[in-house]
């Protein structure tokens, strides 16, 4: 039988390309949103990237490396520091944030490479995050400690980004680029290798795949993504404080990954959106937030262990993970 294997072109609404519509719809938000909602939209994008970066390491690579707040804080502080002390403009400072985040990721990867796994890795990376926070507090001459380090005026390619709306569009651009880039990564050989390492490290190594390189790559990519998110966070809030990068913060990141869907890129986006927007909804019950937070996560874990994305996946195959590029 002579069969040609041709790629079938799926209809637009059933292929991954429909997701390109999402940023187009999202871009309409500033037309309707007041300043508060605009700010929340910016924060949602920050946390989408945070979750995407984090999920790469704990979901796709399967390493319990909780260094996320360290990457987040380093990205935020480096952005502020580069802008304040080295006169960088925002877009170059963001590149700096990505680079330093990546370096931090490299540092974090060393522990994984040395064979530290599971809870040891979780704890050492948590310790790394808290030590960074101690540095932010006590490195006062540079970080201004607990007073917070303010950002000078944010400009991108000469355009002033003072308003939340301007920041929104810039953030949207970055978010789309980073998410698409990560999507390409996950759906390539690299992504498949990473997930193979997660599923069985020894077997993967025995197939001749250099696990060390892929582990490093994942950590560096994660660190860069979360570093960029930190830079966005700094610009959105205008002032960088050490308290924003504590242990409670990493728990929120963790929750976003789990609620969205571990190992799923779309899950990361969903988790970032839901767990940034929902606590704002719970503002009406002051003091009860921790309680609601805990209850929601317990419910999701018990009934949707693969995260909210699994619910959507039942409805449409678009939301199922595909490890190939069309």
């Amino acid at each position: 039988m002579n069969q040609e294997i041709t790629k079938t072109k799926r209809p637009f609404m059933q292929s991954g390309r429909v997701f390109y519509l999402v940023p187009l719809v999202v871009a309409l938000i500033p037309l309707f949103a007041n300043n508060y909602l605009q700010f929340m939209a910016n924060m949602i994008m920050v946390y989408v990237l945070v979750t995407v970066g984090f999920n790469l390491v704990i979901g796709n690579l399967g390493q319990l490396a909780f260094a996320n707040t360290a990457f987040f804080g380093i990205g935020a502080y480096m952005t502020a520091i580069l802008m304040t002390y080295a006169g960088f403009t925002y877009e170059t400072a963001l590149v700096g944030a990505a680079i330093f985040g990546g370096l931090a990721g490299l540092l974090a990867s060393i522990t994984a490479l040395r064979g530290i796994r599971l809870y040891y890795l979780a704890i050492i990376t948590l310790a790394f995050g808290e030590l960074m926070r101690w540095v932010y507090i006590h490195g006062e001459s540079v970080t201004r400690g607990t007073d917070g380090l303010p950002l000078p005026d944010v400009t991108v390619f000469g355009l002033s980004m003072h308003s939340d709306t301007a920041k929104f569009y810039f953030f949207l651009l970055i978010t789309v680029l980073v998410v698409k880039g990560t999507s390409n990564l996950l759906r390539s050989r690299v992504g498949r290798a990473i997930m193979a390492i997660r599923d069985n490290e020894m077997t993967t190594a025995s197939l001749g795949i250099s696990t060390a390189n892929y582990i490093i790559l994942t950590f560096v990519w994660s660190g860069s993504v979360v570093g960029i998110a930190g830079g966005m966070f700094a610009a959105a809030t205008g002032r960088v404080f050490p308290e924003s990068f504590s242990l409670t913060e990493v728990i929120v990141h963790f929750a976003m990954v789990m609620v969205g869907g571990t190992g799923s890129l779309i899950g990361s986006v969903i988790g970032g959106i839901v767990l940034t927007a929902l606590p704002e909804y719970f503002r009406q019950f002051p003091g009860m937030e921790e309680l609601f937070f805990g209850i929601i996560i317990v419910i999701v874990l018990l009934f949707l262990p693969k995260g909210l994305v699994s619910l959507l996946a039942k409805v449409s195959p678009l939301f199922r993970e595909r490890y190939f590029r069309e």
């Binding site: 064979g115 796994r117 874990l301 262990p305």
Partner: protein
């Protein structure tokens, strides 16, 4: 000053030892690290507060009731929240335990939220003075009770048939199932035991630290540091690690800089995991591919 710091360190360390031990008990039995443990420690203390201050019951029965209550909570958590997600990814347990801890903390905050409450204490023992050394009643009570508890624990573990059963399941769950041990019930009991021990720690430390919903947060990381130092999964190591950590905090604070006290735990974790990941008494912690 050195002796005083050592005594104070041992008394603080006893609490860390108890928390580390209760974490290890659950970890060894179920391979789950209870990230919400700090808040359960709090739960024991709040339980006693409610019974003594709000219901007017005498201290010792209240303490026992609170410990039993936390034991039951442990069993319920194991059965209701951990067991159902057994088949999922391992990190699911971490998130679940954190979330349950959040629920505990959120509940205490919505009921007692804004207050910092003094905790009733039962024994008011005068401090003992040996020359310049002060050994307070608190230090003696804490060290004493923790020592008795640890002794009882290790006697049960190594000398009784229940202890042998626990050891058997620790070594091989499959084997234990094959010979008819109800491993699920074992998990529940161990969760209960871990939470009960944590409750004891909470009841002991709350009179000193006062009662407020954030009490538990600091203890968790110290428990981890103690477990890491002693060797993850080693029961004796957890105790040794806790005591050493308590002393190290005191020395670092007095001889180097008080600003270090807070981060001693993190430094210990980093140094131990980089230099000797298996800690003092632990098993191989490193995976070589």
């Amino acid at each position: 000053m050195l002796m005083q710091l050592t005594i104070s360190g041992l008394s603080q360390g006893a609490i860390y030892a108890l928390i580390a031990l209760s974490l290890t008990v659950v970890f060894r039995a179920t391979t789950v690290v209870n990230f919400g443990h700090g808040d359960f420690v709090l739960g024991g203390a709040f339980g006693v507060y409610v019974l003594v201050v709000m219901l007017g019951l005498p201290f010792v029965p209240s303490a026992i009731a609170a410990i039993v209550l936390m034991f039951v909570c442990g069993v319920l958590i194991s059965r209701g929240f951990i067991n159902p997600i057994k088949a999922g990814p391992h990190i699911g347990f971490a998130m679940m335990s954190i979330s349950i801890g959040y629920i505990f903390r959120g509940t205490t905050r919505s009921i007692w939220g804004r207050e910092v409450l003094p905790m009733p204490r039962v024994f008011d023992i005068e401090p003992v003075f040996i020359g310049d050394l002060v050994i307070t009643g608190d230090a003696m009570i804490i060290s004493g009770i923790v020592a008795i508890l640890l002794l009882a624990f290790f006697i049960v573990f190594y000398k009784t048939s229940i202890g042998k059963l626990i050891q058997a399941v620790y070594q091989s769950e499959r084997g234990a199932t094959l010979i008819g041990i109800n491993v699920q019930r074992f998990h529940d009991m161990m969760w209960g035991a871990g939470l009960a021990m944590g409750a004891v720690a909470g009841i002991l430390i709350a009179p000193i630290s006062l009662l407020h919903p954030d009490l538990g947060a600091g203890f968790l990381i110290r428990g981890f540091a103690a477990m890491t130092l002693g060797g993850f999964g080693s029961l004796g190591g957890a105790v040794a690690g806790g005591l050493i950590l308590g002393i190290m905090e005191q020395y670092a604070g007095a001889y180097v800089n008080t600003a270090l006290i807070d981060i001693t735990s993190y430094l210990v974790i980093l140094i131990v995991l980089v230099v000797r990941p298996s800690g003092l008494f632990g098993k191989r912690a490193v995976v070589r591919v």
